[in-house]
Amino acid sequence: METLLYIALFAPLVSSMFSALFTTTPKKTFVGVIASLLIFTSFVSTSLLLASIVINGNESVHVEMMTWMATGNLYIPFGFIVDKVSVTMMMVVTLVSTIVHIYSIGYMDHDKSFNRFFAWLSAFVFSMMVLVMSDNYAGLFIGWEGVGLCSWGLIGFWFHKESATWAANEAFIMNRIADLGMLIGIFLVYWNTGTLQYEGAFEVFKTLDPATLTWIGIFLFIGAMGKSAQFPLHTWLADAMEGPTPVSALIHAATMVTAGVYLVIRSNELYSLIPNVGLFIASLGAFVALFAASMALVNRDMKRIIAYSTLSQLGYMFAAAGLGAYWVALFHLVAHAFFKALLFLGAGNVMHAMHDELDPFKMGGLKKVMKWTWIMMTIASLALAGIFPFAGFFSKDTILEAAFAEHHFVIYGVLLFTAGLTAFYSFRLVALIFHGEERYKIFGISPHEAYRFMLVAMSPLLILAMIAGVLQEPFFHMIEEILSAHEYHIHSHTTLWIMLVGTQVFVALAILYAYKKYANAFIKVPDGTSAIENSFVYKFLYNQYYIPYFYEEYLVKPYRELSDIFWNKVDMKILDASVDGIAGIIYGTGEKTRAMQSGNLSVMLRWMVVGFVVLLSLAVVFGLTARYSENITVIFSGLGAM
């Protein structure tokens, strides 16, 4: 069992290092193949682990590889645990990454940095595995930062592009802000429980006072907010779409961004003790769901639309997790991973076909040339919209049910409304890309379908997006003990049915509206003249609520200017100048007073006499005071001065 664990963990690392050996050599296809094989190995091992855990019931695999840090009372090992939560996540990670790896062999075919790509991608998988499998917060943090690093490397993969490197840095730095919160959370855990192991810490949590726990919960959640791109740290996710599309599929849809959700689920024992924080998380999740969906409505960048939808879905997950429905959150995480990865990979096919054109308005009618892609993306969008019987239906409706059952009707309402928006923008995208006029012809592009093997590689995701719903029951049974899960039952079946059908109808209407509006022949490439484009709401949404602008104007620029001021003014003009000033004063005094040494003997003699006379007057004053001190005292006391 341990061997399997190690294989699952280290196969990606081996893959990464192997690929890294070839980073400076020209493209070699075998690098991709071997990397994919190794990731697949990891996948197989994970499957075996899953199988064994499912078969053997509650048992988890826990190993401690070696000590990492030990000082004072602190003891942090490299410990790994495979239990039902982590194995689920591992399955998602390895499965999606295997598929993405294989897909990338085709996608990155023409890129000269092919080898480097696989090195980074596998490194990411390794980091993600560390994150997921660690049995303590410090180990989690290693993975946490590791995925951040790989994300940086992959977003900025095409580093000759200014926008890509900018986005990479933005992602890294924004994540760092959140990581600080996480770090503080870890410190709090350590100083309050004396350990960072989940097990030990959870034990102690039960005895701590709620205030401390609240702080711990808040700070850890700040970490989660960054990685999962929750408001207000969300801007990096959309910008991260500068990276190659497989990266978006793997990192920014399926795995890394869900790490925040995973953290909350992993720490469920903590969050279940502090329902207030949970409610906050849920509210924020619901808000982000709506907020992101609204931005997706008007965006004109295919990948960004999908990215916003990811953001929105992350909001759903947090809503669920915050309400205590950890298993639902996890399940939605899994299901979302499948259909969102599929959606991204499909988008990747489209981009390939369109020579990296991203504006769906410049596409249209692609279903004729890209039939399979069309099918896949449509199904993925259906799953995303939550249409029965696709995966999204099972996971997302459960979240709605959970919100309803917990009597958080506002959250429920928001989420329900967002579901409609989701459906609308998803099919707006599908409609714009695959239906209507073939607008791309204006731009002289001749699209073609992706490689066959890429489509084959995507097929498992397609199948899972379609049928993942059936896994809900077994998943629930598997996970129920460890996440203290319970099914959400609406009190009456009538209500339940009304809800289900109502939701479906609402969503279906949204889809139809989207088709009606965008699948027709009158769609043109917008040129900024139409009334709607000039409306305030459109601009507001199109500019992402002016939040990036706000960040740029009020955070980045002032930071830069302040830095300049600190350097040029404070450091150079004040601090350094004062040091030089002291030296200058000393030197200047010497320079000015050296005239005293005029070389004139008469003056010299005079100085001597002056010195003597000064001393003499001091002596006389002192001597007289000494002599007449008694009289002086008398006089002063007479004046009442002493």
């Binding site: 840090m69 000082t71 600080l180 770090l183 410190f187 930071y559 450091d571």
Partner: protein, 520 residues
Amino acid sequence: MLDHILSILIFFPAIAAVFGFMIQKDSIRAYGISVATIEFGLSLWLWFTFDGNVSGMQFMENLPLVPSFGVNYILGVDGISLFIIVLAAFFTMIGIASLTETPNEKNMIITILFLQMTMAGVFAALDAIVFYVFWELSLVPMLYIIGAWGGPLRIYASIKFFLYTFAGSLVMLVGMLFMAYFFYQATGTWSFALLDWYRLILPETLQLWLFAAFFIGFAIKVPMFPFHTWLPYAHGQAPTIGSVILAAILLKMGTYAFIRFSLPLFPDASAAFMVPIAVITIIMIIYTAMIAYAQKDVKQVVAYSSISHMGVIILGTFALNVEGITGSIFLMIAHGVVSGALFLLVGVIYDRRHTKLMSEFGGLAHIMPRYATIFGIMLMASVGMPLTINFVGEFLSLLGFYQQSHILTLLAGTAIIVGAIYMLSAYKKMFFGDVTKEENKNLPDINKRELVALIPLSVIAIWLGIYPKPILEPINNSVEAVVRLMHNKAQSELAKERIPNLVKERASVIKKTVIEEEVH
């Protein structure tokens, strides 16, 4: 030989340097490398024979120097100093090995060997005056290196470096003399031996004054805000090897001295000054990081980043608990490795282009992928990526200080953010984008000589990030002894409260072992 290994470590390079005058110019480099390698071997031997389980001083040597005034030649190492000595020898070796064509190479190598003597001396000295001797003496070779092989402002920079540090350490000397006088008053004999001083419990007001005196000397050396302005000049003007050794070792003298002198001698004052110093370090961390962001010269970025990191080290030191101090010592080594490597890397590009302005570069990752990779590794180490050497130190330092103050740690923790900002933007400016400058198009990638220095550093940076135990453990044992001493000496309520009592915490240690047993 083992009884005198420290003396050998100190004086071997000096004697070798004297003999170096006889060597013909063209062969001096090989001589320098071999001497430095032997020195490094000796230091490794020292490490090998060092007993990591002993918390006290080892390899003690004691020779009367001016016994009537209490000045004795006392040497010794413990876990705190051991690794810095090894690091110093290592960097001397690497520095000489990676030395590029320089005019007057012979003088340079001889100077570096003398510098090695002073560095080993500072960290091995257990007598305040001997410590001071080496401390001051280290200025001279550095002065020469900066002044003779530096950039256009080299003379200004070297004078500034020398005088600033010199002035500070003279104040420190007065403090030392006062300390000795106090010892004299208490016992009737003069003594400058550190271990003697440790036994002294000073009244609190006196501690405050003495702490301040020592602080000025150390703070300028570190350098702490607002005494840091010499550093950018020194780094900016120094040749590569000067910057490397300055950043890697010489700055550590200050932080090391805090742990060796300030904490155990003045526990009450340390506790009392903890918050002000923490505030200074936070200013250092954020302020200098911002300045680093504003720089146009990549070397200055690294220089200011050094100050920023030193802030974290000091913060860890003034956590006054085992975690923090251990972390700060580890971070000293880590920062030595990383900043040393970064300066070497800057030197690589400077040798090729004779400019350090970032605007002159751009897109180097296309032309020099290997260079970009190693730079990237060091960049990530510098920003404190886990599994690199810096993270361990920063994590422990911040963790330690968190026990003392939440909000200050939160502020200091911004180090990981601001650090990422300047480092990444610098990296972006240099390596990303398209190659715009014609001169850059044909730059050769990193060569073997440079790799000789950089590969070991990269390996260390990652190896110690993954497996810091061999270093962390001896440090931990010695630090525990220091903390115990401090706690026992502490008089004021504040100090008692801030300096943990290790005996009391035995309970949680037991708890930890229980957990370990459960795990297995």
